[in-house]
């Protein structure tokens, strides 16, 4: 058991949040953690008595999605850590989500129950079958109301298809299939079928010694069910069309920015490795996050990104230290707002950044208990780069690199964001009048 001390508060390693995701309506928000648990939050209904509570999210359901496992054939421990959660569009009263750890994807059904049947004829209330000889009369069970109960049940388990670690799952816009991506392969699944998947990308070289590139993330196009993209550790993005061939080893588009020779160093490749790729809601743009920047690409322009935003350029002179302490391998994610006009991504010291694509303004905000009391307004933060440090600025050298914001989520159409800071989840929203 690993204990971490942060601000004199101790927390378990298992409590570290490893993914955050809103459902397609924004009514629910799910988090996964390193302990294999999924916590689902539900938005409070608007109430006249407490108008200030509008939009608050409360715990709706908590369940253990994955357990630690041991692969006896490979003598290998499989962590229970939830790598990704993806919601399926709601089609009936129940909610469905996919959660994955390094090896296994599971489909969970989350449903409510407020009635239970009573008065069975052939079995006792506790389920034991009654002796037929004692049954003398016919009884029909009746449904009686009971306290609301939220149940999470595993409906499908998709296993044994990945040799490497799964880094992404993405539900297709046909809502019938989804893909799971590991370091070297992408598999396509039907949501109903667990014993068969189709390999659609395989970059594993015949000779593993020749391996110089891995897949870091992948996602389906939001409305073209035949199109998906995947990003690589060499900083490129490949767009594939599943209509072209069953195995999409040949991409249809290849997005890559030529390297700036003036910025070249031994760390160039590491910092250009893409940690996340996301289609815009419109499907026109792609956003990628590498170590120092976030880039917006037009699907119609492969040669260079449309926009490049510096997330924490002041770290460029610290790359050696960040390499030594392994922070340089941190996988920051990025998200779009509902209108695709603002993008958000995380940084260190519990800071996260927002970039307005229209006004080109950017802001650094902090997710911390001290600075964000309930209903308090977030103050922009500033990192001081060289020269004199102003009163409200923080120096680069005093940034805390153990407090990193890797996972964030944006409500599908409102200005509500969820920010995971180690073991804490912060939900911020536009000021309510």
């Amino acid at each position: 058991m690993h204990l971490f001390e942060e601000d004199k508060r101790k927390y378990l390693k298992a409590d570290i949040i490893s993914t955050v995701e809103f459902n397609p309506t924004g009514e629910l928000l799910a988090t996964g953690d390193k302990g294999g648990r999924v916590v689902v939050f539900q938005r409070e209904q608007e109430s006249k008595n407490q108008p200030h509570r509008r939009g608050e999210y409360n715990v709706y359901s908590t369940f253990q999605s994955h357990e630690p496992e041991f692969d006896y054939l490979k003598s290998l421990e499989i962590e229970e850590k939830i790598n990704k959660i993806r919601w399926l569009p709601q089609q009936n009263a129940a909610y469905f989500l996919l959660s994955t750890n390094d090896k296994t994807v599971k489909l969970w059904k989350i449903s409510e129950r407020d009635k239970r049947p009573e008065g069975y004829n052939l079995k006792e209330e506790d389920g034991r079958i009654r002796d037929p000889a004692t049954i003398t009369a016919l009884r029909v069970p009746v449904l009686r109301p009971m306290d609301l109960m939220v149940e999470a049940t595993p409906r499908r388990v998709f296993s044994n298809a990945h040799t490497y670690h799964i880094n992404s799952i993405s539900v297709n816009s046909d809502y019938e299939t989804y893909m799971s991506t590991d370091d070297l392969r992408i598999n396509l699944w039907n949501l109903e079928i667990t014993n068969r998947s189709f390999n659609i990308v395989d970059i594993k070289p015949a000779n593993m010694e020749e391996l110089t590139e891995v897949i870091t993330a992948a996602e389906f196009h939001p409305n073209h069910c035949n199109t998906f993209v995947y990003s690589s550790s060499k900083g490129s993005i490949r767009l594939c069309d599943m209509r072209a061939s069953a195995l999409c080893d040949n991409h249809s588009k290849f997005f890559e920015e030529p390297e700036d020779p003036s910025n070249r160093s031994f760390f160039s490749e590491i910092i250009s490795s893409i940690s996340d790729v996301k289609f815009s809601h419109s499907g026109r743009y792609l956003m990628t996050r590498d170590y120092l920047t976030v880039k917006v690409w037009d699907l119609n322009m492969e040669s260079k990104p449309l926009e490049t935003y510096q997330v924490h350029d002041y770290l460029r002179s610290k790359l050696c230290s960040l390499y030594e302490n392994d922070c340089i391998f941190d996988k920051f994610e990025c998200v779009w707002n509902g209108a695709d006009s603002v993008i958000m991504t995380g940084s260190y010291n519990n800071f996260f950044r927002m970039f307005d694509r229209n006004t080109k303004r950017d802001v650094t905000l902090e997710a911390s208990r001290e600075n964000s009391k309930p209903r308090a307004i977030l103050k922009p933060r500033k990192v001081c780069v060289g020269g004199k440090r102003r009163k409200d600025e923080i120096s680069v050298d005093s940034l805390d690199f153990s407090k990193k914001i890797l996972h964030t989520a944006w409500h599908p159409f409102e200005n509500i964001i969820a920010v995971a800071a180690t073991n804490n989840l912060y939900i911020f929203q536009d000021k309510v009048n």
Partner: protein, 307 residues
Amino acid sequence: MTGSAAQQDRTSMFPKGTKRKCSSDGGGGGGDAVAEEATAAGVKTTASYSLQRQCLLDMSLIKLQLCHMLVEPNLCRSVLIANTVRQIQEEMTRDGSWQIMTEAFNASQGLSDRLVASEILCRPSPAREQGEEDPKPFPAIGGCQLEEEVVVVAAEEETLCTVAAEADSAYVSGGVDPHWEAGDRPEGGSEDGDADDEDEDCCLGEGEVEQRSAEGTKTVDQVYGTFEIKSPAPSPDPALEELFSDVDASYYDLDTMLTGMQGTPKVGPYDLLENLSSHGPSSIAPSSTCRTDLNELDHIMEIIVGS
């Protein structure tokens, strides 16, 4: 604010690197001054640059070794580190310092020195240290083990510390540095130099092996030793490591390191590790067949598990 940062980097890095005059951003009248300065500081600069590069190489090798201790390491991280090692090695082979490094092993102190240096490299530069009250701005999260080790050595080797402390950490930390440009190659015709490099390296490697077996210093073994251990599971036990230290399985090992138990054939760009094998290139053939078998076995296992 980005502008000022870049400016600062550039000024702090001017006295470095004899090749700085080639810099594309140098432009205008600044070029001559830089060239003069560079000539003056020439010898010292080259030394500190290669020292820093060496530190980076050592750090990367240690990281790879730590990866290797895990049964299933983070593949992305391992690949990125291995690419960095390869990049450094290519550059060192090009400017001949690869040979110097192997000679340094002869002096039997090379490694511990360089561990010290890597610690210095990642400390804030003296100027920054004065200005800030916090001397350790980068808590070693992932690499605490590494740092502990390093600090111990540092205490023993104080003389070297003072010399190396003059090195500016900004130099290797990803700033502007034409020294590392691909276009900066001294001799042409190295475009398809992979095969040549390999050959050359093999020779060096053999030499190094001789040195190693001659001196048998423990420090060297501690860092490179595990590359030669063929073990299906992590074996942190030093006694075990010694037991296997003569077994040549370096290809297989790197492989394991990169894939986590996935057996796969042949040597590739990782000649560096190849050099450290005790038997030289002759061992390629047997180990690759062995790996093919393992691959098949793996496949069969997958089928069994699948069904």
